[in-house]
Structures are given as C-alpha cells and as structure tokens.
Symmetry: C2
Subunit: 228 residues, 2 copies
C-alpha cells in the first residue's frame, strides 16, 4: 500500500457526506490515503480489524474463501463505497477479503475514530444501519437465487445487476471489467460453466463480449432469463 495524501476530497464517502462540519477537520486528521495496484489485497479474511476503508477510485471485490482454491464474491465496491465494515462486530476480524480489481485509491479510517464518529453522529449511525439492512436483504436474495435459480438465470441476473450498478460506457458495455473467473465466483459457479453460459448468451445475441468488457444487447431477454 503506497501512501498518498492527495486523493480524498472529503465529500465522496458516507463518512464525509454525513459529517457535522465541526467534525470534518478531525476526519481529515485521522484519515490515511492509500493506493492499491490491480490484484493487490486490501485485507484478508481472518485478519484483525483495525479500521475501515472508503474507496475514492477504482473497484474492489469483496470475497469469502473456501479452502485455497474456491471463493465466492459477495460484493463489488466502487467510488464512494465503504469497505471493511463487515468487520465491525464482536469478532474483530474481517469475515471477508478485499482485493483491488484495478488500480484503486482509498481512504483508511482507524476503527477507534470511526466508532467515535458513530457515537457522535446519529445520522451516520442511522445511515450505516440502513446500509447494513440493504446489504442483508441483498445477501438473502442472492442466497435464495443461488439455491433455486439455474446458473444461466443467475448469470443473467448478475449481468443486469452489474450494469445497474456500474452503468454503461458510450459504446454500451458495462463500465467494469471482470474476468470470467470473477464472474463465476460472483454467481457461485465454476469458470467453465460461466464460460459456456456466456458463449450461449453471445450466440443468442443477448450480450456481446470483447476482451473483458461485456455489453448487454438485449436486456429484456436477460430479464426473462433471470426468471427461470
């Protein structure tokens, strides 16, 4: 992690946005900006929690592991998103890992100061609670999908979700590059299966792929697919 002092603009993340003006200097004081190279690990599942992070640019995947080989991507975080909050709790260790998918700049807030902020700032606490609530809903929905939807439907759903979250570039591609392996880990399947399903979708003219960028050509069809 390379240190860097000139990234955070103090208005991108939840912490800064919901901050009482008087508290901002304190935030400024306690934050540390870092940057990560593509593929670099931010923290690993099981690491002791010493703070939380806010992403200023780039994309991070949040993932859980099973053994050495297998993983499940739980969430993608991007500009403005908080990362590491899953570590807040009794355990005091991250229940997930976080890895940069591309060059990332971020802001670190030590736990103590963050918790002090929560104590002081009711709105922040409330917002964080609501955020957890949303993530919980999301997680449980995905869980049901995992159990009851076939792979193709899950991939359709994932593509729509990603498009929704990251938006499109001018040429219609989802504004995010993720490899097949990551797509597989995100949809709870294997690389090979993900690949085959993607091939099908290309054949059916539902999506177009070039390199790592994916364009949704027929969103309606995808919506249909995610229903079964």
């Amino acid at each position: 992690m390379k240190k860097d002092k000139h990234d955070c603009d103090l208005q991108t993340c939840m912490l800064c946005r919901l901050c009482i003006k008087e508290w901002l200097p304190a935030v400024d004081n306690h934050r540390k900006n870092f940057s990560l190279k593509k593929g670099q690990l931010l923290f690993r599942e099981g690491d002791p929690v010493n703070g939380i992070y806010f992403i200023f640019s780039g994309t991070v995947k949040v993932h859980k592991h099973w053994g050495e080989e297998k993983e499940l991507i739980v969430r993608f975080a991007r500009k403005g998103d908080i990362v590491g909050h899953r570590g807040v709790g009794a355990e005091m260790m991250y229940p997930v890992s976080a890895t940069a998918l591309e060059p990332v700049t971020l802001c670190f807030i030590d736990l103590e100061f963050f918790q002090a902020s929560l104590k002081v700032n009711h709105a922040l606490l409330h917002e964080l609670m609501m955020f957890y609530a949303r993530e919980l809903q999301e997680s449980e929905k995905n869980m049901r999908n995992l159990v009851h939807m076939p792979v193709k439907a899950r991939i359709a759903h994932a593509l729509l979700t990603l498009r929704d979250k990251f938006g499109n570039t001018e040429d219609g591609a989802i504004d995010m590059t993720l490899g097949r392996q990551d797509l597989a880990s995100f949809t709870g399947t294997t690389y090979e299966t993900a690949f085959r399903v993607m091939s099908e979708l290309i054949q059916e003219n539902v999506i177009a792929v070039s390199g790592k960028s994916i364009a949704v050509l027929n969103a309606e069809k995808l919506q249909e697919l995610e229903k079964l």
Copy 2:
C-alpha cells in the same frame, strides 16, 4: 392473530431492554400483543411493512420464496428475537415471510413508533446496527457454504448451529422441533436429500431422531463433517 394483553413483560426484547426508563410507558402504550397458532403466517414476502415484532414465546421461521413450491429458510427466531426488521428500508415491504412453527406469542410495535424510538435512543440504534451486521456476516457465510459445501456438510453445520442456538432438552435433543421439509429448506436442499442424509447420520450414530426431535450424539463427528 388473537389479541392478548398479558404477555410481554417489558424486559425480554431488545426494545424494552435498551429502553430509557422514561420511554417505557410509551412502549407499553404502543405495543400490541398477539398470538399465533402453529403454521400461521405472521407476514408474507411482499406485504407492506407496518411494524416490527418481538417474540415473547415460541419459534418463528423467516423464509423467502421462489415460485409457489420452493422456499429457503433464512433464519429461525425465538423468545426475545426481533422479527420484521428486514422490512426497514427503502422498499417498505417485507423481503421475507414469517411463519409460526409452534404456538407463538409476540408483541407488535408499529413502524412509526419504532422509528421514533430509534431516533431517540442511540443505544437501541447502535444495537440494531450491530444486529444487522451480525446477520449480514451470518448470511454471507451461509451463502458461501451453500456454494461450496456438499449437502451433508451443510446439514451437519445446520444441526450444530441449531443446537447452539436452541440448546438441548434434558434428554439431549435439540430444543426445537422442525420437520424434514424445514430442515431441507434451511439447508438449501430438497426434502428427499435431507431425509437421506439424516438417515446416513443416524446409521453412523452421529445423531438420533425420534419423531421431530433430533439429538446430537457425536458433535465432534459433525464438526468434522462440516469441514467437507
């Protein structure tokens, strides 16, 4: 739902425990006690949220549906637990259903009053946030398990979890009765498979079953099983 005024003792649930003394009369005023018969629905996925519930006695399953037939049990709630909080959020509708597994008495708090309490009571808000955080961790762990663990391991894990949460009766059985179908829905499998795995476990002398009550005979073996 049968109305009933004599159940809640004002000290079992989170709301009452964390209440400022001065606020308790208000709580007492805004709560409504109900009881449910076994199998009765408390609320259904998609229903508009009009409040939250605290369980005073009995057990409730919280489940998500897929089509008419299939479900996934997301959580079991018992004495003192909050139910319906998943509805707190933008959507204003329950993302899950809740059904009594046995006769249940509970306490209803209308949403408006609950939210007022959150606004007024910082400790309550904090506790609720931590509760969400724990549930999120739990959910994501289960999600990973669902993807990477075979059914037998998931059932082993579920049995240990349930024993942990509900404890044992004098005769060593888990203090909770759930049918095979519910066990299946909880572990993300089908009735038939759950049944077969349970049979195996009985053959292997790891558990003993009589009717709906399940006794763990060999917890170590279960812990081993849940690792693969």
